[in-house]
Symmetry: none
Subunit: 205 residues, 4 copies
DNA sequence: AATGAATGAGGTTTCATTCAT
DNA sequence: TATGAATGAAACCTCATTCAT
């Protein structure tokens, strides 16, 4: 009994991963997923309730881990950096980096789907939330002290938002193009170095 | 009659632009485009062979301009920077920047569709091509002289590729989130500043 | 323009009426309706949003008329019969009868679908509501005065409910089996005669 | 082995009874029947050729008993009532009643399925056949003597048909709404009383 | 005898595209 | 030239039935 179940379920998941990666959630075809998995479309529904359920089973673990991780970063950051302004942001980000890379190394494709290809699913607004979280952290770097509401403030906010977005996208790109863990770490390192250098140079103006 | 034809054709193109912008290529509805253009669905097919053809007529000019522009940058770069190494890369990129922003200001929507909303069309792989072109340019910054094939070379290639990708994505993000031309220019400026600072600091190591 | 629309819409409505009549709402097949109408399934959706919408367009007018009519009966009954107990129930029901027959003559099939074949649609609970309304009226015949809550009361309630149900079904059967208006009127007359005789004889016990 | 087989077969039949009762023939799910029976879907097909066969094995005995019973009533009626016109129809119907209720008490669920929930199966037209049989019996009450073919005859035929239908539906309604055998008997008693009173009053005109 | 994974035909619905008018 | 009704293929999904185990 159940002489094939796990094998088939895995082949469906793998096929779905490939199809979602290629066409995004709403343009992915259950028929194509079935073809890729070597089964008939109806059989998918023995393993997953529907398209959204299949997507969720693939993406949710990564989503949860990622959210939890970012929250930890935020809390840690709020505690250690903002109160006593001793930590160098460069050092702080460097510490963060290794954990990020670890998570991405585990779930490269899933994260890219979550962040860039989930339009039409319940995860659609996740990317903006994540970028806003990242922006929140960067904001504290640019405006350490008080909450000014003047023009400068708006510009800083835009800047933080933009840099947060590019940072997230940068990591996505690195992970899309490279499999080797050490290369990934090295490139993220470089990316952070660029960002930190730029941010520091901007703060010093 | 010819006059009427052009008017209708333009209204279709304008409607299509709006619809592709809102829903992306494959989720755009020909019926909705007809509605927006104030005509009937069947009539679209007197002006355009099919959905893909309509998309192409809209996007191709921008695509071509963008490619041509990047080629010019590449050629200019090859001539002015690589041979006699006098120009400051920061100055060079700053010169580039204003042209980029100009192009985006002209064809903001088309470029955003081309880069982010062309999934399902023949332009789907364009973004990657563009990033590779940009990477080629950046390569010349990092490896000014000869074509070494050693390990250091590979690392520089990866770095250039990654930075090119994040740069392109960064510009996309800026254009997605902001309409005002001056804000766009300012943010692109900041983005370049960060990149240049990072790149210079890296070159100086 | 619109050179066929009404004709097709009517053929769909007629086909749907036949299909819903034969198999009920949830077992009716849109494909079969299309076949009966001599069109393709997709074309139905140019005329009706979905299956429920098609059903509603067919059934709602009858439903509304029927509900309104029954409410009028109920109000008229509450006013004329319960307060001053002068009207003979036989006379009252006879007055009611002609109106019922008129409505049924107009929308024979639709009413039968509404009452007996709407399972799965939003009209599913209508029949029970109607029977309860009819039972409410009959209750007033059996228990003219006060609201007793004893055993006799429960029996009267069951009896009223049962007779209301059979009355409704009886009218449905008459209309299913006969087309001629005069025959219908005559049979409903007989049915009411039987009911009234029985009810009166029961009250006299 | 044979013992086990019967046990399984019975559990399937019991499960099917419950499922058909809840959802009707065509909306009943073979998978759900298997679940209720504590076996797997495929195994049902070792005991029953298909869904229709399972339905038939469940319903046919009751159908046959019911038909046979009605035939006996008819024959008994033809012998005792029509030839020597001594028996009071009220007494005769009262005698009939207790047998009807007995049969319903034995096979309440099966009869309700047969009469009201067989849409989509081969038993779908049974209810009409039953009503026509009942109408045939009632005809003998209204037209004791000869087979006139005049207008009066047609009216009597229609009347008998209508009253047979309402009687059957009335019993169905009673059985749908009540579980307790004594309440069922009592309501059927009342229903017959109404019918008899009406029929007698009509005959006396 | 029993399992339950798999199939395949069918369900409702959408939509780019065609074509008679 | 323009209409918009109609088509047909595809979408997601369900389920009675089959069959390798």
């Amino acid at each position: 009994m159940q002489y094939l179940k796990d094998e088939v379920k895995n082949s469906i998941l793998q096929a779905a991963l490939s199809e979602f990666m290629r066409h995004g959630y709403s343009n992915a075809s259950m028929r194509q997923i079935a073809n890729l998995a070597g089964i008939t479309p109806g059989n998918i529904y023995r393993y997953f309730k529907n398209k959204e359920d299949l997507f969720q089973e693939l993406i949710h673990p990564v989503y949860e881990k990622f959210i939890q991780y970012l929250m930890e970063i935020k809390d840690d950051f709020d505690d250690s950096y903002c109160v006593i302004n001793t930590t160098n942001p460069l050092d702080y980000l460097r510490k963060v980096e290794s954990t990020i890379v670890e998570l991405f190394k585990e779930s490269n494709v899933e994260l890219r789907i979550l962040l860039n290809l989930s339009s039409g699913s319940s995860y659609e607004p996740v990317k903006q939330e994540l970028i806003q979280l990242a922006a929140h952290i960067l904001m504290k770097v640019f405006i350490p002290g008080e909450d000014q509401q003047d023009q400068a403030m708006i510009e800083e906010r835009n800047l933080a938002h933009m840099l947060a977005g590019t940072l997230i996208e940068g990591v996505c790109i690195i992970l899309r193009d490279h499999e080797d863990g050490e290369t990934v770490r090295q490139l993220v390192d470089e990316l952070l170095r660029v960002y930190c250098a730029g941010i520091i140079s901007r703060l010093n103006i």
